[in-house]
């Protein structure tokens, strides 16, 4: 399929990424190459084949919902770019 500049920009928006103009040109070409190759998969006959997610067929394994990793507020917050009064600080979201 054709990879247009519009599609590249749409994918940037979906991924919350902004490419430089040079990156954009290169990415347009690279995506065209890669998807051109990936399109080969269309030749594979998969009529009637159920999609498989987990190879061993395991589903929905749960455990008791208990805290097993508490008491690390300080270490967790020390990785955040901005904190205030024991919380993570983010820019204002509403005016």
């Amino acid at each position: 399929m054709e990879i247009t500049q519009d599609l590249v920009r749409y994918l940037e928006a979906l991924g919350r990424i902004e490419l430089s103009p040079e990156e954009e040109v290169k990415t347009q070409k690279d995506l065209a190459d890669i998807l051109g190759y990936i399109d080969k998969l269309g030749e594979l006959d998969t009529a009637g084949v159920e999609p498989l997610s987990h190879a061993a067929g395991r589903t929905n394994i749960t455990r008791e919902d208990v805290v097993i990793n508490g008491d690390m507020q300080e270490q967790v917050l020390s990785n955040a770019p901005e904190t205030k009064d024991g919380t993570i600080l983010v820019p204002r979201t509403f005016d």
């Binding site: 919350r16 990415t27 995506l31 990936i38 594979l44 999609p51 097993i68 990785n79």
Partner: protein
Amino acid sequence: MDDKTILGLTALELGRAIKEGKTTSLEACKAYIEAIREEDKKYNSYVTVCEEQALAKAKEIDAKIASGAITSDLAGVPIAIKDNICTKGILTTCASKMLHNFIPPYDATVIKKLEEEGMVIIGKTNMDEFAMGSTTETSYHGATINPRGANRVPGGSSGGSAACVAANLAPIALGSDTGGSIRQPASFCGVTGLKPTYGTVSRYGLVAFASSLDQIGPISRDAMDAAAMYNIINGRDDRDQSSTDCNDVSLDNIKSFDVKGKKIGIPEQYFGEGIEPGVKDAVMKAVAYYESKGAIVEKFDMPIVDYAIPTYYIIACAEACSNLSRYDGIKYGFRPEDATDLTSVYIKSRSQGFGLEVKRRIMLGNFVLSSGYFDAYYNKALQAKSLIKDAFDKAFEKYDVIIGPVAPTTALEIGKSLSDPLKMYLGDICTVLVNIIGLPAISVPCGESDGLPVGMQIIGKPYDEEQILGFACNYQNGSKEA
């Protein structure tokens, strides 16, 4: 014991020497750290060396070994850890600007397990950014150089782990394998790399790339070391619901493994177009060795191999774009100074924090999952996955193991791969199927082509680690005798 002798030992030999009092964990750690300081400028295999923590830990372990509190085979042995496995209090960067300053508040389950057995972490190893790459050139910390070939890449993404083991700068290391990231660098650097069955090793604390494909495993000097390490890290973990109970492998069985009467399947498509003749020759010579020891070798057709790369890149990128949405410049990681409102924090952090290969995969992932393309790409890949499983199930009805090359080529020249990502992706043709359906596989050095190491890949049935390790060990014992 002098430093040179220590550096020359396998992990099990070193563990035995420590246990027998011929050396100590402290002496071993010092020898390695000094060697890293002197030699690693050439290779850049480590991104962090934890001298202070390691030496303190080694002293503690020596006391525990002396008192009999720790008796593991690998007690006191130093280990290097790929920089995408969380180590409490030690930088874990994933070789990305995005996590350049990230210090995990917790240990990955594998780290807990190896520390309980008395192993000592000496450093964190270089890798492709977020494990996305096959050359360790996309690292924010600069490329790693292959100790086995000047001007050659070590492979990737666990290039630092493979290079440090190959250069005798660690007796053993942990890597992670999403599409060949343990096996291919092991092959390029001439060391042994085990990708265990999906679910046997907890992924808790492994920074997620593609959760249905990722698996942690050892990179080591031989199969016996890989086996001992596998026994330490495997097992069900409540913190990873995809993990499962599994048996330890028997080191005795592996050591004395006999291939007589075993059936080896050789998929024709693993030796097709694009495979270097020197690689093919080396692998077929290893297969001939098994035949000489009484194994039955048979070639067979596996046409699904032609669809391996498209299926893999669709699934891997789809999962990656979801997993990497957590990097938003809020909770941890890189945030540029000039980002002021919430949206610009997200966009600028991600645009400046991720390298181009990571961005490309996020975009590919969003594409195959997006409305209008989901069925044609993502769903189609999951259908292909089902057919891939059928093909391997059928093959394993006839064969005990499947053998092929790890990679179509030997280590590539530095600087030749990144400009053409599709070409780089095609190099994963022999390794990715194993991840798609969660099989165990091992990369075993099997000679050279034009002076560079070649790896043979032995693929097993799910949970059949003992058999592929046995095959690997049998070959390595044979090469020692020859």
